[in-house]
Subunit: 428 residues, 2 copies
């Protein structure tokens, strides 16, 4: 019986796995240097955790089942509800601000498309316990710090920054009521991805009066913050948010991330729970889906049984990012390499010594292997080359060790005792 | 609404996560230096993949469900079927021997007990494509190399080595037929964990004649290889296996792992698919479950639709291992630490500079943070200490930078330009 991988999942053979580790390590390194600490939760959560956060409709997008104890469980489609649950459980003992990152594997029961898989990884960076726009700036800077780290410049990617607060005010201004607000925001979120007529249809269906759609477009297309403010002139509670966005842009400037960042009031985000500044990372040519997205979600912890407490953060999946990195030629060479390959220098006579040296070198931390085949020197060296070994450690009579540099072909013979006393001297 | 984690799963807060990463990194480092390359598969596989390998009874131990396309899917309870599927899919292009490791997260729908969780991690090390006992030796050495790496000595743990081939011969010798062999092996596997009377009952129920049970005990309790051979005298096909085990012990001796390893014919392993040498790692006091287990499984790839090809390997879970490491005091201090904490030296006047230095230092790779609160120097330094920062980088008039060593309390003031030209000179 022959088996295939499940649709929308990936097998990670050594090369794909090495790239996945490279990406994961870059995410981790950048998170740590930005002062975040790593956490993780279980893959399985109570289905209700996602239902309470996102409503009944989320259930159709999840892999879920009832266990033998009658509990409804789901495979996590995102980490934020878990993070909120974990913060709530220790709300009184965790020093604030809480700066957490994680790299969860996530599942969505969707039809696979380019950049959208049923099983994927997502880097999450969150700050809980600060209402200050400094927290938003810290998250956005961390995203930019990563983009720069992997070689994506401001000509490759752009962080587009919008505001739920201002967008909500713009919608209220044209007559959208509270009951329709979520649907109207969802329509606006889709605008960059659909044709103008389709957008008009969706927006009016969601309660935006047709004759005031131009006002919304004018607000969303504002080239800068004063223009957006002008489009909202006289709206209550917008001045403070405009001030926050101005501070945000100054901070990003001071931290050295401004060249990546651009105000863009078309950024709304799809999920219902955002409350303030929101942003997405896009490839500069708009050819792919968003690489990352996030923003402020000041109500979520309260919804999930905790206190009202400020929170902000973003998620970056591995699927779209990998496509972009490949297109830009930014994926590194990750071929597996050995430090050394221990070789029987006279064919089948020193096989026991080969075992001794192999054991010793591994224990000392050198990536070491040897051939299972007791064969000629030439064949063993061929295997050493195929395995990407830097050096061959050739066991010779004497006892001596021939250290052969497999790049230059140069070989140095040393007495075995000298080699063993300090192998690092020869294997570098 | 307040939520709990699902029974048998774990929340990884920063400290638990740091320990998990420490363990994962040790597994990875040791695997790489032993010449293995990393792979991974999807969490979700077709339910049949596990059913074909382990029979219908496995289904009750899995988390499984039917997706909207009508496919029966399961969350992987082990990685070996996935590994076999992946090897089979590229059987003609993968150079042999295939030396793969992985660190999958696994799920079992069992009742949680000490050392046994519903969601856990397991290090897997496998060599496919070699019938040679060298491959078994390489896997066992890798396990020992890891145990030594994390500070567990031969007084803490022991690798007990048995043989399915010899155990099967011993059972056949006392009259157990092919039809009862699997049940009889399963009974023998349980012997170290049950009372003598319970074992006698299980073994006879599985087809071992009561009056010949002593012969089985004598074989299993053989203190060394000659004694085990003596108990099997005249049995066909045992001489070759005894020779293999002898070679294995010599290789482990030569590689420097023998002090951890002991022959023990009570080792049988629970799973049906083992075919030759098998082994388990136990804590020396036998107080816990097995820390790791593995062996040769030469038929599995064929069962899963591939060719008949030699394979051997082991798995080591994180749950029992973590208990053992904690009991032995071998868990490291993994507190989160920052390289530096940037501080406004005159309180609220240099906040923009704090942002500039923070951005710059992070980009250069220093783990850097600063206080979101614009507050006094003393309070900022307190936060720096709480965050485990090694240095405070204090922005002073001039512009100057005061580099304060937070362990010794010593402070060096340098002109800002000099500091920025080479921060690494001061932060070490």
């Amino acid at each position: 019986m022959k088996f295939q991988a499940v649709k929308g999942t990936r097998d990670f053979y050594p090369e794909e796995m090495a790239l996945r580790n490279w990406l994961t390590e870059a995410w981790r390194r950048v998170s740590l240097r930005n002062g975040f600490v790593e956490i993780d939760g279980p893959v399985l959560e109570q289905l209700d955790l996602f239902r309470v956060k996102s409503g009944q409709e989320i259930v159709s997008q999840l892999f879920s089942f009832t266990d033998r104890g009658g509990r409804e469980l789901a495979m996590r489609p995102e980490i934020t509800p878990t993070l909120a649950r974990m913060v709530n459980a220790r709300i009184n003992s965790l020093p604030r601000p809480i700066k957490w990152f994680c790299i969860p594997r996530l599942w969505r029961a969707e039809n696979p498309q380019r950049g959208r898989l049923r099983e994927f990884f997502q880097w999450n960076v969150d700050i809980v316990g600060s209402d200050d726009v400094l927290a938003d700036a810290d998250c956005i800077f961390t995203a930019v710090d990563f983009l720069r780290e992997v070689g994506l410049g401001p000509k490759d990617v752009v962080v587009r920054i919008g505001s739920r607060t201002l967008t909500t005010a713009a919608l209220r201004r044209v007559g959208v009521g509270d009951a329709q607000m979520e649907a109207a925001l969802a329509a606006l979120d889709k605008r960059p991805r659909v044709k103008p007529e389709a957008f008009a249809e969706m927006a009016t269906a969601a309660g935006v009066p047709a004759d005031r759609l131009d006002e919304i477009r004018r607000f969303q297309d504002a080239p800068d913050l004063p223009a957006a403010a002008e489009a909202l002139r006289g709206e209550p509670q917008t001045a403070e948010e405009i001030q926050r966005i101005e501070s945000l842009m100054t901070m990003l400037q001071n931290m050295g991330a401004a060249e990546y960042c651009r105000l863009d009031m078309r950024m709304v985000r799809g999920l219902a729970y955002y409350t303030g500044i929101v942003y997405e990372v896009w490839d500069a040519e708009d050819a792919l889906r968003a690489v990352a997205g996030g923003g402020r979600y000041d109500n979520l912890l309260e919804v999930l049984g905790g206190p009202k407490i400020g929170a902000t953060g973003f998620g970056m999946g591995d699927a779209v990012l990998s496509i972009l990195l490949e297109e830009k030629g930014k994926l590194p060479d990750v071929s597996a390499r050995l430090d050394c390959f221990v070789v029987d220098g006279v064919g089948q006579r020193f096989f026991e010594s080969v075992h001794q040296y192999t054991g010793k070198l591994r224990e000392l931390g050198f990536k070491t292997d040897y051939s299972f085949k007791q064969t000629s020197l030439g064949r063993q060296l061929k295997e050493a080359n195929r395995r990407g070994a830097r050096f061959a450690v050739i066991v010779l009579e004497g006892p001596k060790i021939g250290v052969k540099d497999l790049e230059t072909g140069e070989q140095t013979d040393v007495p075995a005792g000298e080699f063993l006393a300090e192998p690092g001297k020869y294997l570098k």
